[in-house]
C-alpha cells in the first residue's frame, strides 16, 4: 500500500483511512506492507498491529512541488521494488495522485496489478483547473484511473464525478466509504481535564469543528457564522481542532468579526483529547465547501452527537436532513448559523438525530465491513 500520509503524518483523511484499512485488512488475513513518507522522529520501519510500515527517506529535494512529488515517488518505487524480491507482493494499492506515479511504475516493473483509491480530485479540491500544476495533477489522476485495474472512490458522489470527468468505465470503479473505528472513540476520557486544558467552561455550549485549516474545509464561513450563533446562545464557544496553512487567516477573521475571545484554536491535539472534545461537544459542524467523504462527521455520529454539515459530496450521502443530522448550504454563514441554532435550541431534536446517527454508523461504516468490500475489489483486480 503506497500512501504519502500515514500516522504520525496525519493531515487529512487519507492517513486515518490507510491506518484503519491496513489494520482491518490484516485482521481479515491479508498481509499488508505500507510504504509511506518519512516524518520527523518517526521510525523508518515498524510493525503496527500486524501492518509492516516502511518510511522512505527522500534523499534529495527541490523547491518545486511537482519535482518534489516525482522525487519522492522515485524513492517509494525504489524501496517497494526492493521489498518485492523478499515479500513477493500480489497487488499494489495506491492512494490518491501523490503516490500514483510510483504505483504505475511498479505496476510495469514488477508486473503486478494496481488498485487506486481516490479520496478527492484536483478539479474538486480547487473548484476547477486554473493553473499548470492543477492540470498536471488532474492528468496524473486520469493516468492513474487508466492504469489501475480497479478504482475505489470514497463516496458515490465522488465515483460519479470520476466517471464523468475521467470517463472511467462504470464496472471499473467501486464506491467504498470511509469507516470509523468506534473502539478508538470508546476510551475513558476526563472531560474536566480537557476543559481546563483548552480553556473551556463547564457552562459553555461547545460548537466543535475538526479538520485541516485550509480553505476547502470552510472554517472561514463557520467563524463568520459565529456572531449569529452567539447572538442567540451567548454561552456558545467555538472549538476548532486541527492545523494548517490557513490558521493565521482564520485567527484574523475571528478578530475581525469580534468573536476571537469565544473561539479556541487547539492546533493538532492528541487522540485522547480529540475523543474527549467530541464527547463534550454540544454540536459538531462540518462546514466544508468540498468534501468527498467527511470522516469527522462519521466520528461525531458514532458518538451520537448532532451534526451540522454542508450539503455536498459525501456529506450529502451520509447525512439525511433532520433524520440523522442537519444539512446547511456550503459557504453560507447564515445557513450554518441557522443549522447550529436549530440544534442548540431543541435538545430533544439534537438527541434524536444523534441517536439515529449512531445507529447508521454501526451498520454501514465499520472498518471490518469496509475491509471486506476492499478485498472484493482486490479479487476483481486480480481476476480471482
Amino acid at each position: 500500500m503506497l500512501t504519502w500520509e500515514y500516522p504520525p503524518r496525519v493531515v487529512g483523511g487519507i492517513s486515518r483511512h490507510c491506518y484503519e484499512l491496513s489494520r482491518a485488512l490484516v485482521r481479515k488475513g491479508v498481509e499488508v506492507v505500507v510504504v509511506t513518507l518519512e516524518f520527523p522522529e518517526a521510525r523508518s520501519y515498524e510493525k503496527v498491529d500486524g501492518v509492516e510500515v516502511y518510511r522512505v527517506k527522500v534523499e534529495i529535494g527541490n523547491p518545486n512541488f511537482l519535482v518534489w512529488i516525482l522525487i519522492f515517488n522515485h524513492f517509494m518505487e525504489k524501496l517497494s521494488g526492493d521489498l518485492h524480491w523478499s515479500k513477493k507482493f500480489d497487488l499494489i494499492h495506491v492512494h490518491d495522485w501523490l503516490t500514483t506515479i510510483a504505483g504505475i511504475s511498479l505496476k510495469h516493473s514488477i508486473r503486478l496489478n494496481m488498485v487506486l483509491t481516490i479520496h478527492s480530485t484536483e478539479i474538486g479540491r480547487s473548484g476547477g483547473l486554473f493553473d499548470p500544476d492543477s492540470f498536471t495533477k488532474d492528468s496524473i489522476e486520469w493516468w492513474g484511473t487508466y492504469e489501475a485495474a480497479q478504482v475505489i472512490a470514497v463516496s458515490s458522489a465522488l465515483r460519479r464525478e470520476i466517471i464523468e470527468h475521467f470517463k472511467v468505465p462504470e464496472d471499473k470503479i467501486t464506491a467504498i466509504p470511509n469507516g470509523v473505528d468506534t473502539s478508538r472513540l470508546e476510551i475513558e476520557v476526563d472531560i474536566n481535564e480537557v476543559e481546563r486544558k483548552y480553556g473551556i467552561s463547564s457552562n459553555d455550549k461547545i460548537v466543535l469543528s475538526v479538520g485541516r485549516l485550509t480553505s476547502q474545509k470552510g472554517f472561514q464561513y463557520l467563524i463568520r457564522a459565529f456572531p449569529l450563533i452567539l447572538s442567540k446562545h451567548p454561552s456558545a464557544r467555538l472549538v476548532i481542532v486541527g492545523d494548517g496553512w490557513m490558521r493565521g487567516e482564520l485567527e484574523r477573521i475571528a478578530i475581525e468579526t469580534g468573536v476571537r475571545n469565544r473561539v479556541v484554536f487547539t492546533g493538532f491535539i492528541p487522540d485522547k483529547d480529540l475523543v474527549a472534545l467530541l464527547k463534550r461537544a454540544d454540536v459538531i459542524v462540518v462546514p466544508s465547501v468540498y468534501e468527498p467523504f467527511g470522516i469527522t462527521a462519521l466520528e461525531g455520529m458514532s458518538l451520537g452527537k448532532p451534526i451540522v454539515a454542508s450539503r455536498i459530496g459525501g456529506l450529502a450521502e451520509i447525512i439525511q436532513h433532520e433524520v440523522n443530522g442537519v444539512h446547511v448550504f456550503p459557504g453560507d454563514p447564515s445557513s450554518i448559523a441557522w443549522g447550529v441554532n436549530r440544534v442548540l435550541e431543541d435538545p430533544d431534536f439534537a438527541r434524536r438525530i444523534g441517536e439515529n446517527a449512531r445507529k447508521i454508523v454501526k451498520t454501514k461504516y465499520e472498518w471490518n465491513i469496509i475491509a471486506e468490500k476492499t478485498i472484493e475489489v482486490y479479487r476483481k483486480a486480480l481476476g480471482w
Partner: protein, 81 residues
Amino acid sequence: MDPSIRSLKSILSILNNVGAIDENRGVTLEYLMVVLSMSREELTSIINNLIQLDYVSKKADDSELYYLTPRGVLAASSIYS
C-alpha cells in the same frame, strides 16, 4: 489570497520540498532569499512569524539553519491535501 499568506505558504512548502525537516537538513536564509526572490527583511519577518507559530525552528548553534518542526511538516502537508 493575501500576499503575506501566499509567502507563508511558499516558505512552508519550500522547506518541506527540499527536505528541511530536521536540524541537520535545514537551509539558510540566503538560500530562501534566492529561491523566493525576497528581501532579507521581508523573509525574516515571515520566518519569525512561522517560528512563533511553532512551524519553523532554527538550529541551536551558529550555523543559521532553518527547518520545519513536526507541526510545520503537518502544516506544509496541509497545502497539498
